[in-house]
Symmetry: C2
Subunit: 426 residues, 2 copies
């Protein structure tokens, strides 16, 4: 029976959850995994949590009491932020320790650098909890699905926005009311920017793309659009046409390279992602051998995140205890380029606010025709007395052509407000 020293940085919600699992399941892991996981050092800004969890005797406010502690074999980093966290993780890796983290912002920006550092010093870096909370996704991609060339990864990876879109659809709330409700329930933060503008989802898809395609992808390379522009009118139009509006994070392997982006998408109701509701997350993967698979569960919260952190911890601890497999770092073996969105094709939903008078339909249809954009269906809604809305669903069209059509529509003076333009998937 091998004893493994665990050091924990950060005793917030997830950190406390990790401690509770380690305390509650210590004997289970001893019996089933043959490892004796001992919390030998913890650090957080204040000692209140350490006191509450009975860990005051191993507490210090100084993180280096964890990262440089010779009794610590595996460090669990749950302090958040990027600068101090980066410093702590590199200190620990340079000291030959393995590290588990849930820090998506850090992994999505400097993850590869840290993985190389781990490999160089004989340790490992694991970060299952950085994507999809409790949903096992990095594990399956690196183990069972390693047999596949991954063709695409698409996910609903932000519970806050999925909850808000669900309330806009089911209760008819507008964006502001849905946000206020999510904040009241604790699903959205006081400053909701990271969630509603899609940055949280962008960090997660960057990590998923890095793992899926063995290639270097960073957060700042993800084209990102949030949900703050979504109107109730768009929700209804989606519903009527057999779609559900979701904030999707998408990464695809195309012949020319990697296509990666986050934006609101109308998902056909028959697609497995369409029935992922509330704060649940799901990640949909297509591989060349396995075909379609989907992984579903809670994307956030103490239990789910702690579940993934401890799952990683057990694996790294077993490796340390039995001098076993070092998980392959994600080498940039393929070195695929990122491709520009404008070169791709997609199907679109377009909603154009126009004056209710003859000729507006003909004028907009002409612009689409000139750019070779083929219309799959069209409806006109009367909005107010002298206003109408033209709603188009297109066949596959070049993304660049649709952007140009919107520009020409704006220039033409036909529009009486801002047009909506949302991609659709079947």
């Amino acid at each position: 029976m091998k004893q493994i020293g665990v050091g924990i940085l950060g005793l917030g919600v997830v950190g406390s959850g990790v401690v509770r699992i380690l305390q509650g399941h210590h004997d289970d892991f001893l019996r089933d995994q043959e490892i004796d996981l001992r919390i030998v050092a913890v650090s957080s800004r204040r000692d209140a949590q350490a006191r509450e969890l009975g860990l005051l005797d191993v507490y210090s406010s100084d993180p280096s009491s964890v990262t440089l502690n010779p009794e610590v074999d595996v460090v669990v980093e749950l302090m958040g932020g990027t600068d101090t966290a980066y410093q702590c993780i590199s200190d620990a890796l340079k000291a030959g320790k393995s590290v588990v983290t849930a820090n998506k912002a850090l992994i999505a920006t400097r993850g590869r650098e840290l993985m190389y550092l781990a490999a160089e010093h004989g340790g490992e870096l694991a970060f299952e909890a950085s994507v999809g909370g409790g949903i096992p996704i990095i594990g399956p991609l690196r183990h069972t699905l390693a047999s596949n060339r991954i063709l695409s990864v698409m996910g609903i990876v932000n519970g806050t926005t999925n909850y808000m879109l669900g309330r806009m659809k089911d209760a008819g709330l507008d964006y502001d009311s849905a946000l206020a409700e999510a904040q009241q329930l604790g699903y959205a933060e006081a400053d909701p920017t990271a969630d509603v503008e899609g940055y949280d989802a962008a960090a997660k898809i960057a990590i998923l793309a890095m793992i899926s395609f063995n290639t270097d992808v960073r957060l700042d390379q993800v084209a990102t659009e949030g949900i703050s522009g979504i109107s109730v009118t768009d929700m209804h139009a989606a519903e009527e046409a057999g779609y559900v509006l979701k904030l999707l994070a998408i990464a695809r392997r195309e012949p020319a390279g990697i296509d990666i982006r986050v934006h609101p998408t109308m998902v056909a109701k028959t697609h497995p992602l369409a029935s992922v509701n509330g704060v649940y997350n799901a990640i949909y993967i297509v591989g060349d051998a396995v075909g379609e698979t989907m992984f579903y569960g809670r994307g956030a919260g103490e239990g789910p995140a702690a579940s993934s952190v401890v799952g990683d911890l057990i694996e790294l601890a077993r490796h340390k205890a039995y001098r076993e497999t070092i998980i392959q770092p994600v080498w940039d073996t393929e070195g695929l380029p990122l491709i520009s969105d404008g070169d791709l094709e997609s199907t679109f939903y377009l909603r154009l606010p126009v004056p209710d008078r003859p000729g507006t339909l003909a004028a907009s249809a002409t612009i689409f025709a000139e750019l070779g954009i083929s219309i799959a269906s069209m409806v006109q809604h009367a909005a107010t007395d002298d206003q109408a809305e033209l709603i188009f669903f297109t066949h596959k069209a070049p993304v660049g052509a649709v952007a140009e059509a919107l520009k020409r529509l704006n220039d033409s003076g036909i529009l009486t407000g801002t047009a909506s333009c949302i991609r659709t998937i079947a």
Copy 2:
């Protein structure tokens, strides 16, 4: 770069798929996983497939040319059946080789014995493809979710019956027509017994229970009921009440032990399993930390099964190549008893064919009342001129009490035909 010799037993659909992945992705695995996987021996009854796959020079009709071949490090067993397969796998394990198999019947009956044999001789036994085809499920249970106490596992693990039930629901086909159609499409075999009577699902849930609960469960301990008794009337009643009829395989950890069974179940439409359609499979797991998760994908077919087999093969090959982690065998560490179904509680759907005359409702309601079975809702359908159908949905009731109610209803002479009794889940 380590070279690993692969030997393959059986070159049917899945075996050929495995060969095609190994041939097509050889350089990817070399680059990303740092292993050089070489097919050094294959065996099947006839040499036609070996010839077609360009493997005639390593072909023999004698399985021992694979299992006892000193150049073979990992054996892939895809011959099917249980007796010869058992012999081949134990020969290989005794020779210190690791083994990957998709053989659910064998693993569900003698899996634990083979796992101990592997551990004794320093090899490993992996069987991801034995459950859920291409869906990564055993991997996640043994890696990421190892941090959890698994509370329940429920799955739609048989694509044939899921396809048939879908066609009965959506196209109004009766059982026989749905079966004939499934056979025509190649989804059901000429002898469909293993699928429609639930034995295939029973083997899979036995394996899932063994992994999830660290306890010994065998195929013959699973209470199994298939779909051959399902009528279109039951489908409609389910639809009307907000349920979908699915063949569920269920294993739950109860205070007294393990509850394990396979039977048709009415699943509330809001449950994630309700929207799993066609030949797709899904496995829904509840863990004490992670909460609800679900894994979805193709449960059968060349690509999906071969994907899981090669995923296992890569992992075992890396262990062999780098003398790394031996996956923990599933020790019977908890030794939980199986509990009798009659001691449990469930909610039920009951359909009683009765004569259309006064007093039948009162008579049946009285029997339920006497046994303490509380009714949640009730409707009466006129079936033919002098026949009616009473449809009850119950609150939670002891399984034994409901069985007794059915017995008393039968004895009372009220029923004009066979009653339907199907469990429901919300």
